[in-house]
Each structure stands twice: as C-alpha cells, then as structure tokens.
C-alpha cells in the first residue's frame, strides 16, 4: 500500500454516525445524531443520564438497529455487515456482564474460543491480556470472589481477547474506587499507545478532560458538541484567551492592555485584580503578549491560558444541568 493510500485510510473515521434516529415507546432517545470518531483517538462521550449515550453505543456495537440514519464502523454498515463490525470491536457494557461462577481464565478462554481462536492462540492471547490488565496473579480466582475493580478489569480483558481495533466502553469507571479508576485510566492510556481507538462514555469529566483527544456531548438525544477537546475548552470557542492576575491595585490596567497590538478584548473579572485578555492568534502569540504586558510595567502575579473546565463546558451545553 502506498503512503498516500495509507494516509487516506488513516484519515477515514473509525465510527461514522450519520443522522441517526431511535425511539423507545414514542420517546425519542436519539434525535438526528451525527458525529465521527477518528482512528487511534480516545474519544469521550458525555451527557446527562438519559441523554442517549448507551443507546448510541448500542447502535454502534450492533445491539440495536437504528430506526433511521446510517452508522458505519470501519466503513462497514452496522445493519448490513454486523459480523464484520463485531469482529473489529470490543464492547464493554455498563454492567460487568461476567459469568461469576467461572474463574478469570475460564471466562477469557470461553470468549477467546467463541471468537474462533485456536487453542495455542488462546493461550498466548489470554496471557497477554492478563498481563496488560495486571490480572495474571488472579487468573484462577472465581469472578464472584473478585472486587468491583478486578471484575471491571476482567471485563476489559474479555473485550481485548479478540484484539479489537475499536473499544466501546460504557461507563467503565462507574462504581470504582479512586485507585481502581486511576488504574483503569492507565490501562486505557496504554491501549491508546498501542494504536487502539477508544470510544468511552463516562460521567467522570475531569478524567475525560485529561485523557481524551476528542469529545462528543449529547443531551436529550441531540449532539451538542462533537470535536476536539481543545476546541471545547476554549472559552468563547473562537479566539484564545489568557487570564492575568495583577499584584496590588488593579485600577486602570484594562485600558493599557487594550492598547496592545493584536488584543481584541479585555475584561476585568468581577472587581478582582484579574483580567481576561482575548487576542487574535494571527497578529499575536503568547510570547509577544507576555512581553507586551511586561513592557507596560504591570506587577504580574499570575498569567495562564484561560480554558474552561470540561465541567463548565458540559453545564453550558446541556440544558437540564443549568436549569
């Protein structure tokens, strides 16, 4: 395959959700939902309870047929080419979905065999996924005797036995203690570094903000935002901004800052010695802005990029949260 062809293949979205509608008993769970997930990205999927996250995931992983619209995974239609889609994905539902009477090894061996792996392949793959999820010491334990975090890891190991290119994880960190959550996130980072595409639905926004390259926010069955995490966290969504905190008296600095070339807008934050400076990237970069401020002899106490937290973005974009 030529480099150009490979580049073009790499740029093709892994998941393409186009104008999908799905209703349950007259209630529209997905209302013309469209978004894309790019390859080798860690894409967060965020929304309030009942927003349509799980329904979207189930449509993508072929468990639900979309009533309208098209969903493609690696270019395969989820309705017409279910088996091809299922071979390429691993879906971890929001419950453990484990056979509690089995040992961890039996459980993984069963699923590996169900994916058609040979005896030798199974032995190798199971050892690998046990090592990756740090479960090799517990492989002969009954699943019913494992902690929540361990069961979640077992579930993740199960998803990995067929070496899927795309992982769909529905609330993988729910109900886990902080340590188990951090460990799970570390495993996800490791998986991303292996080139897997991960589509993760979660409520833990701080971790998503740190982990994800892209995010889709959904509310009441409608996509409110889908794109890069960077883009979402920009305050206005158009121009970069910085926050400047001044030591001592704050009066009078706004006019001086406004005079700097490339500065578009300066706002003082609620009477505090703090200014929000929005600037035009084309005319000014961060270095020159900072030099300009120093040149005004302003006693700088702090200077930082003005980014919204994901929580704020989420609250702004989802209606019920702010009502």
């Amino acid at each position: 395959m030529s480099i150009a062809a490979r580049t073009s293949s790499a740029a093709q979205p892994v998941i393409e959700v186009d104008d999908v509608v799905h209703s349950f008993k007259g209630r529209r769970a997905l209302n013309h939902v469209s978004f894309q997930v790019m390859p080798q990205s860690l894409h967060g999927f965020v929304g309030p309870n009942g927003a349509g996250k799980t329904t979207s995931l189930k449509v993508i992983c072929t468990l639900l047929r979309p009533q309208f619209g098209v969903v493609k995974v690696f270019g395969h239609d989820v309705v017409d080419d279910q088996k091809a889609v299922r071979r390429k994905i691993g879906f971890m539902p929001d419950h453990f979905s484990t056979y509690r009477q089995m040992t961890v090894y039996e459980y993984l061996d069963f699923f590996a065999a169900a994916y058609g792996l040979s005896f030798a392949q199974r032995t190798r793959v199971i050892d690998e996924v046990l090592a990756l999820t740090d479960m090799d010491g517990r492989k002969n334990d009954l699943i019913s005797g494992l902690s929540r975090g361990m069961q979640q890891r077992t579930s993740l190991a199960r998803v990995l036995v067929n070496d899927p290119d795309l992982l769909l994880l529905d609330e993988p960190a729910s109900g886990l203690d902080p340590r188990a959550r951090i460990e799970l996130m570390e495993i996800l980072k490791a998986l991303r570094s292996m080139g897997k595409t991960i589509f993760i639905s979660s409520h833990i926004l701080s971790e998503l903000a740190e982990l994800c390259d892209a995010v889709t926010i959904i509310d009441q069955g409608k996509v409110k935002y889908s794109g890069s995490m960077q883009g979402l966290l920009l305050t206005s969504g158009e121009h970069p901004a910085f926050r400047l905190t001044v030591a001592g008296e704050s009066d009078g600095w706004a006019e001086s800052l406004q005079q700097l070339p490339g500065v578009l807008k300066v706002e003082q934050i609620e009477g505090r010695p703090e200014y929000r400076i929005e600037f035009d990237e084309a005319q000014l970069d961060t270095n020159r802005l900072l030099q300009g401020i120093i040149g005004l002899n302003i006693p700088i106490s702090a200077f930082a990029e003005d980014r919204r937290h994901l929580n704020e973005a989420f609250m702004d974009l989802t209606e019920r949260g702010v009502k």
Binding site: T62, R86, P93, T98, E106, D109, F110, A114, N140, L142
Partner: protein, 568 residues
C-alpha cells in the same frame, strides 16, 4: 440543634397517612418515646400493627393489578366453559355434575401442586437472590412481618383463585351426581393442602439460597406427602411384625401418627370425597393435619429466619460439582473451552459437567436396578411388562430433566446480564441458541443412556418395544407436546424472573386438552384419524411437520426476545 445541647425535645407524633405503606411513616424507634408521651399506647399499637405492613402492601398491590383479576377471570371462564361442556354432554353420560366436579377438583389439585411449588418456594429466596433481604430488615420489618408479607400474602392470593371458583362449582349440584357437602369438603381439603404446601415451601425458601433449590426440596417433601397414605399402613404392619404394637405408650404414639399419616394426603382425601355417598365430616384428619402442619412450618420458618438470612450470599452462583480448570482431578474440572465454547459452557455450568453426569448415571442405574428387582419380586400386573414400566419411568425422568434444563438455559444469562456480551460475538442468535441447547442436551446423556441400556438388556422384548414406540404416531404426539412444553418453558424464562417451569405447567395443563394443537394431534395420531385412514407413516410425518412448525415458531419468539433483552 436544641436537642444536642440537652434541652428537652417535644415529640410530635406522626399521624399515619391513609395511603400506600403508611405504617412505615408511623413507626418510630422505641428509644424516642418517653414515659410521659400521651401517644405511647397508640405508637405501640402501630408498631405491632406494623407486622402487617408488608402483608397489607402485597394485598393492596394484588388488588390493584389488573392482570391478577384477568388471570382469575380466565380461570373462572375456563370452569364456566367446562360446565357448559358438561351440560351439553349430559345426555350422553350419567352423573354429569360428578364428572364435572371430579375433573375440576383434580385439576385444582394438580394446579396447586405444580404451580404452588414455584410460587410459594420463591417467597424468601427471591429477596435473597435480589439481595434485598437486608434492606427489608433495615426498613424496620421484623422476620415475622417479612414472612407474613412475602408468604402469607401469596397464600391468600392463591386461595382467592380457589375460592372464586366455588359458586360456579355449586352449579354442578344442579347437573346431578354430586352433593354440596362433597363440594364443600373438596374445597376445604384443597385450601388446607394449599396452607400446608405454602408453609413447607416457606421453610425451604428460608433455608435455601436459590428458588430452584427451594422448589426442588419442596417437591421432595410433596412426594413423601403423596406416598404417605400408601407407605404408612405398610410401615405400621411391619412395625407390628417386629413387635411394636399399639398397646404400649410409645407404640400407640407411633401407630397413631401413622394412622394420621395415612389420611394426610389431599389426593387420597379427594378420591374418597368423590365416592358416591360420601358423608364424612368436612374437617377431616387431612384438613386438621394439613393446617396444623402449615402452622408448625410457619413457626419453624420464623424461628430459623434470622440464622438463615443473616449471612445470605445473595443467591450466589455456584459451580456445583465442577472443579476449577487448574484442579488436580482433571476429570471433574471444567478444563479448557472446547471449539464449541457455548456447548462447553452450558454442559459444565448448567448441566453440571462430567462429575454430575457420573453421579446421575450411578444413581439412575441403582434406581433402575432397584425398580426392576422390586417389580420382578412383587408385582404381577397383567398387561404391563417390566420393560414398559422401565421405559415409562426413564422417559419421565428425561422429560423432567429436560424441563429443568429448559428453565435454566437462559436463566443465568438473563440474571447475570451476559446476553449483551454473547450477542456481541460474531455469531448469529440461532447459533448461540442451538449451541446452548446442545450443551444442555449433553446433560441428558446419563438418563438417555439408561433408557437405551435398559431397552437392550431387559428381557421381554425391549428392542421390540422401542421399535413399536418409534412407529407409533401417538408416541410422536407426546414428543410434540413435550417439545412445545420445553420451548414454552424456555420462552417464559425470558419473561419471568422465577417460576418459568410452574408457569408453563399452569398454562399447559388446563389448556392442552382444549387447545387446537391437541385436537389436531388426536385427529392425526389418534384412533379414527389419519393413522387409521392412511397408515402410521403419513401420521408420523404429519406429526414431525407439526413438531418442526411449532419449534420454529417458538424459536423465532425466543430469538426475538433474546435480542430484545440483550439490547436493553
């Protein structure tokens, strides 16, 4: 926070609300009451009345749910239709009232036995399986309140089903052949039996962790209960032969108990009630012993409730006799998954694996040997040979085992929420379903092996019997009924949390005789039907087509339901 600083608190009594489970709202911890409280007596009354909180709630819920009334109405409708049929055919047969009464009374007995086992045995185990028993205790309900609410309410609900028939049954008197005394006696006997059954099941439900185990043990008690009238006189005679007569104090107690035991069974009692000229009192030994037994069982369940529910493991799944794959006894371990992994999983974890298969095989061989030896030694029944008896017993065992496996085939998948993971495999739903069925069928191999072994080894033409059975359309007709039943059980297990098997019995037993399938079967395989006019093979072929058709319809419904549950 005045009470923290030690200032006296004014305790304002809460007035009970007149809706929902108001009694929870009225309950207060006794430590909050003071001697001076004018409402102390009222509160104490409410606390004791709180015993009935769950019972009241269950009964109210039952009264409000439309489906319960529809079910009772359907049952009454069925009785009405039977009455109508008896009236229509009254010219052709003698004593139509008695015939009608006999059929309905036996139908009730079978219904209570089969459906009651599952219905009553899950009273406490369902709370254990849902891990909600601790929540009930934390809500301030004591064991007695829980037992009343969970079991007695079910007894009342089931009794309603019997009581509602009574006015219709009295119409049988006008048809002739039966007296009101017989009808009253029969219904009192049935209600007493139901009390006994409900409370025996309650004891096992309190002891066991899972509904299946509780139902199985209740079933075992019922077998002993049904055999008591036949076993008690023989035991009594045997004891007298050994010198333990009824004249001594201990002997009189033993023989007195055995006499009561002979009258314990409702089946025995119903047979006597249906005899012409029945004049025995309504409150017979059966009624008294059954009600007394029920009360004793309830008290026993109350006494053992706390120790048996304190450390409930929430109906944890067990591996039965299957050892871990790293066990040294490799034969009893599950080993590695087979190339057909679902067959492996269901054989090991639903059918019990190799270990359980060996245990079953040994048990069946011993039972079969005992049965055949006893039959040869004692029975000399004309018209039935040991080979026929053996084959019937083996077929019944296979049918019972198959029914239990059909109830379990999807049970764990639904309970453990693993269907979504299975459906995500790159396999079709029929592949998943047939693989699971094959795994369960492997669990039937010991009983099928015993049947084949007996057919080959038994003298008296076992192989001839097998060939005759294979070319008999009626035998295939029974296979059809069994297949429909098994599919129905599997389908129902995808709709109900527990009791798919008894529910299927409830649906099949009264419906089968009046179902079009049964009429069609009689037309095809019965005397005077296709068999007589066109020969056995066309009739068998027709039955096969029917089997295929009905299995296909049921399997489509099962597949659709599996998809629905998996995507929930």
């Amino acid at each position: 926070m005045s009470h923290i600083r030690g200032e006296p608190r004014t305790v304002r009594p809460r007035t009970p609300r007149r809706c929902g489970n108001f009694l929870f709202g009225a309950w207060r911890h006794p430590a909050h009451d003071t001697e001076q409280s004018p409402f102390l007596a009222q509160r104490r009354f409410l606390m004791y009345y709180g015993l009935l909180a769950l019972l009241t709630r269950s009964l109210r819920q039952d009264a409000r749910q439309l489906r319960n009334h529809v079910f009772r109405l359907t049952f009454v409708g069925f009785i009405y239709l039977s009455l109508l049929w008896a009236t229509v055919t009254s010219a052709a047969f003698g004593a139509p009232g008695l015939r009608f009464f006999v059929s309905i009374a036996w139908l009730n007995a079978v219904f209570i036995t089969c459906a009651g086992i599952g219905f009553f045995a899950s009273a406490i185990t369902e709370e254990k399986e849902e891990e909600t028993i601790g929540l009930l205790l934390m809500a301030g309900l004591n064991p007695l309140a829980i037992l009343l609410g969970k079991s007695t309410s079910r007894l009342i609900q089931a009794s309603m089903l019997v009581v509602v028939q009574f006015p219709f049954m009295l119409l049988a008197v006008t048809l002739g052949g039966v007296t009101p005394h017989q009808i009253i006696s029969a219904y009192v006997a049935l209600l007493a039996f139901m009390t006994f059954l409900a409370n025996v099941a309650l004891v096992w439900s309190t002891i066991c962790e899972r509904s299946g185990s509780a139902a199985g043990l209740t079933c075992a008690v019922l077998v002993a209960y049904a055999l008591a009238p036949y076993a008690a006189p023989q035991i009594s005679t045997q004891l007298k032969e050994w010198g333990l007569t009824g004249t001594s104090g201990f002997g009189s107690i033993i023989h007195g108990t055995l006499e009561w035991g002979a009258d314990l069974s409702v089946y025995h009692r119903l047979s006597r009630i249906m005899e012409t000229g029945f004049q025995e009192p309504v409150f017979s030994q059966q009624v008294i012993s059954n009600v007394f037994g029920g009360i004793v069982c309830f008290a026993f369940a109350w006494a053992i409730f706390t120790p048996f529910t304190k450390d409930s493991s929430g109906g944890a799944v067990t591996r039965g006799m299957v050892l871990k794959s790293n066990s040294r006894v490799r034969f009893l371990s599950s080993g590695r998954a087979w190339p057909l992994p679902l067959v492996w999983k269901d054989f090991q974890f639903i059918a019990g694996g190799f270990g359980f298969a060996v245990v079953k095989l040994v048990a069946y061989v011993m039972l079969a040997t005992g049965l055949v030896s006893y039959f040869w030694a004692t029975v000399d029944t004309p018209g039935i040979g040991v080979d026929e008896l053996y084959a019937s017993c083996a077929c019944c065992t296979i049918a019972i085992e198959a029914s239990i496996l059909a109830a379990r085939i999807f049970y764990d998948e639904v309970r453990l929420q693993t269907l979504s993971s299975l459906l995500m495999l790159p396999r079709s739903i029929p592949y998943l379903g047939y693989s699971k069925a094959l795994g369960c069928v492997m669990g039937l191999l010991p009983s099928v092996g015993c049947l084949l072994l007996g057919t080959i080894l038994l003298p008296g033409g076992g192989s001839r019997l097998a060939v005759n059975a294979l070319i008999d359309p009626m035998v295939w007709g029974f296979v059809l009924i069994l297949m429909i039943f098994l599919h129905l059980v599997a389908l129902l297990s995808l709709f109900v949390k527990w009791g798919a098997l008894p529910l299927a019995i409830v649906i099949m037993v009264p419906l089968t005789p009046c179902c079009p399938i049964f009429s069609l079967l009689v037309l095809v395989a019965g005397p005077g039907g296709v068999r007589d006019s066109a020969g056995a093979f066309p009739a068998i072929a027709t039955v096969w087509i029917l089997i295929g058709l009905f299995c296909f319809v049921f399997q489509m419904m099962i597949a659709s339901r599996l998809q629905e549950i998996g995507s929930k």
